[in-house]
C-alpha cells in the first residue's frame, strides 16, 4: 500500500477513537491514576504543605478501626442484599412470565422502586422505620408490641438498610430475568414435561443454566451497587449510630468532605477500586467458563 494512504488510514482511525478516548481518559483513567498518586501524599495544610509520604496513609488506614468496621459492614451488607435480591428477582420474574390476570400491573408494581429517585425512596423508608410514629411501629402497636428505634439501634440499623436495598434492587434485577425468560422457547418446557420433569427439575436443569449469563450480569451489578451505596445513608442514618451502618463509600465521602482529608479518602478509594477489580475478575474468570451463552 502507498505509504501516505497508510498514514491517512491511521489518522482516520485515531480521529474516530478520539472522542471516546477523551472521555475515558478524563473521567476514568486520569482520576484513577491521580487517586493512586494522591494516596501516597500527606494531607496538606496552610502551614504544612502536602508531601510524599509513601505508604504512610495505608499504614494509618490499617490501624484505623473505623476502616475495618465499614469494611466489615460492607461485607455483611453485600451478603445480606445480593443473594436475597437475586432469588427474589428470579421468583418474581417466573411469576410474571406467565399468563395471569393483571400481569402488566404486577410487572409495573415490581419495577416501581427502581423508577423512584433514591432520596425519595429513603424518605419513604425513613417514615416506615421512624420510632413510634412510623408505619412498622404503628402496625406492631396493634398487636401490643412496643415501639423500636430501628435506625437508632446499632443491632437493627444495618438489617433495616439491607431490607430497603433488597426491596429496591429485586424489581430492577427482575426486568433482566424477565427479558431472559422470554427468550427461552416454550417447547423446551413442553419437551421436559413430556419426559415427566417436575417444575423444580426443569428449573434446576434447564431454566437456571440458561439464565446464567443474566445471573452473572446481575451479580456484577449487585456487587458494584453494594459498594456504591451512599445516598440512602445520607437521608437515613449518616452512617450512625457509632458507624453501625457506615459503608466504605460513605466513609470515603466523610473523609473527603467532612474531615477534608482528601489524601486519606484517596487511599480508601484505591482499596475500594482494588476490591471491585478483584471481584469482577473472579466473577469473569471463575463463572464465565461455566456459563452457556446463546
Amino acid at each position: 500500500m502507498h505509504p501516505s494512504r497508510n498514514l491517512m488510514r491511521h489518522v482516520h482511525g485515531w480521529l474516530l477513537l478520539t472522542p471516546a478516548a477523551i472521555l475515558l481518559v478524563a473521567f476514568t483513567h486520569y482520576p484513577t491514576i491521580k487517586t493512586i498518586i494522591d494516596s501516597l501524599f500527606s494531607k496538606g495544610t496552610v502551614i504544612r504543605p502536602s508531601r510524599f509520604v509513601g505508604l504512610a496513609n495505608y499504614e494509618s488506614m490499617y490501624a484505623d478501626p473505623i476502616f475495618w468496621k465499614v469494611l466489615y459492614n460492607n461485607l455483611w451488607f453485600a451478603l445480606g442484599t445480593i443473594p436475597t435480591s437475586i432469588i427474589l428477582a428470579i421468583s418474581m420474574a417466573l411469576l410474571v412470565n406467565r399468563a395471569m390476570p393483571g400481569r402488566s400491573f404486577v410487572r409495573m408494581a415490581y419495577f416501581t422502586p427502581t423508577i423512584l429517585p433514591m432520596i425519595a425512596v429513603a424518605n419513604i423508608w425513613l417514615f416506615f422505620y421512624s420510632p413510634d410514629i412510623g408505619l412498622i411501629d404503628q402496625i406492631s402497636s396493634w398487636f401490643g408490641i412496643s415501639g423500636h428505634n430501628w435506625l437508632g439501634d446499632p443491632k437493627t440499623v444495618l438489617p433495616a438498610i439491607i431490607i430497603m436495598t433488597v426491596w429496591k434492587e429485586a424489581g430492577f434485577f427482575m426486568i433482566f430475568y424477565l427479558a431472559a425468560l422470554q427468550h427461552v422457547p416454550p417447547e423446551l418446557r413442553e419437551a421436559a414435561r413430556l419426559e415427566g420433569a417436575s417444575r423444580w427439575y426443569f428449573f434446576r436443569r434447564v431454566l437456571f443454566p440458561l439464565l446464567m449469563p443474566t445471573t452473572l450480569f446481575v451479580l456484577i451489578n449487585a456487587v458494584l451497587n453494594s459498594f456504591k451505596l451512599v445516598d440512602h445513608l445520607f437521608v437515613l442514618t449518616k452512617g450512625g449510630p457509632d458507624n453501625a451502618s457506615n459503608l466504605l463509600l460513605y466513609y470515603i465521602f466523610e473523609s473527603a468532605f467532612s474531615y477534608f482529608d482528601t489524601n486519606y479518602a484517596a487511599t480508601l478509594t484505591v482499596v475500594l477500586l482494588a476490591l471491585l477489580a478483584i471481584m469482577a475478575l473472579v466473577q469473569f474468570f471463575l463463572l464465565d467458563r461455566r456459563i452457556h451463552y446463546r
Binding site: 423446551l188 413442553e190 414435561r193 415427566g196 420433569a197
Partner: protein, 351 residues
Amino acid sequence: MTGIEIRNLAKHWGDIRAVDDVSFDVPQGSLTVLLGPSGCGKSTLLRMIAGLEDVSSGQVHINGQDVTHKDAAKRGVSMVFQSYALFPHLNVRENILFGLKVRKVEQAVRDKRLQEAARMVGLEELLDRKPANLSGGQRQRVALARTIVADQPVCLMDEPLSNLDAKLRAEMRDEIHILQRKLKLTMVYVTHDQTEAMSLADQVVLLKDGRVEQIGKPSELYETPSTTFSARFLGMPPMNVLRIDQIKDRGALNGAIPSGSPGWQLGVRPENISIADKGLSVKISAVDYMGAETVLRLRHGKQNLMARIDGRTNAVPGETLHITWNADDIHLFDEEGIRRGGIDAKPSASA
C-alpha cells in the same frame, strides 16, 4: 389392535373451533399423517394427543386406555418438535439422556440405550457437541435419538422436517420411515407437505378448518378424492376442477355429464390430459419446462387448467390447442364440492 383412537375430539377457544369433532384410529405400528394447510388445526390435534393442550370435548385412547385427561408424561408418548426443542446448554449426550435421567433409569441401562440410539441415527462421533455446533440435520437426529431412547410405543412428530433444506428433507424422511418400521412405532406425523404425506403415510387424515376432510390411504386420497378440497390439495400440479356450466362445448368434456345439474364440477388430473386434434379448446398462458416433464398452463374462457406432458413440447404461450382425456379419468363433484362420480366411484365422503 388399535394404537390410538381419537373420538369426536374438539378444541375451542371461545367461538373459534380449532379442532372440531375429529375421529380416526391409528392402528398399532402404523404411520398416520395429519395433513392440511396451515391453520387447519393439525398441530393442535397432535398436541391434544400428546397432552400438551387441554381437550374441550371428546376422547383420546392410547393402547386401549382413555388418556384424555391424563398427564402428558404418563401417556406413553414421545414427541419430536418442529424446532427440535433441544436444550442449548446440554451436549448431545445429555440431551438424549435428559428424559431417562428424569425417569431415574439406571446408569447401565442409560448407557446401553444411548449407544444404541446414537448408532441408529449416526451420532456416535458427536456426543460431546452442543446443539449450536450441529447442522440442521444433526439436530434433527438428536431429536430422533431422544425419541428412540424414550422407548415409548407412540411417537408424535410435529412438522419435523420443515426446517431442513430440500435434499436433507428427503434423506431424513426416509430415515424416519425406516426407524418407524424398525421400532414398530405407532406414529402420528403432522405436515403440510403432500410429498411427505404421500411417501410416508399408511393412512392420511386430511384436515380443513379443524374438520376431517377425508381419511384414507394416500392412493385412495389421490385416486378418489371425496371433495374438491382433497382433489386440489394432493397432486403436483393439483387436479383441474372445472365448472361444467361455464363450458359451452359439452361434447368436448368427454364424459357422461348428468343433465340439470348447475354448479357441478368436473375434475381431471393434469397427467391425464393429452393434446389432441379435437376436444376442449384452450389457450396456452405459460409453459414450465421441468426436465422430465413440461407443465402447460392453459386457459379456457375464465377457467385455468394445467396439463402435464412428458418431455419437452414445442408449444408456445399464446397458442391455441385442443385437449382431451379418457372418460375413465373424470371425477365429478356437485355444487357443494362433494364427490358424485368418476373412476372407482364410491359413496361420498368416506369419513
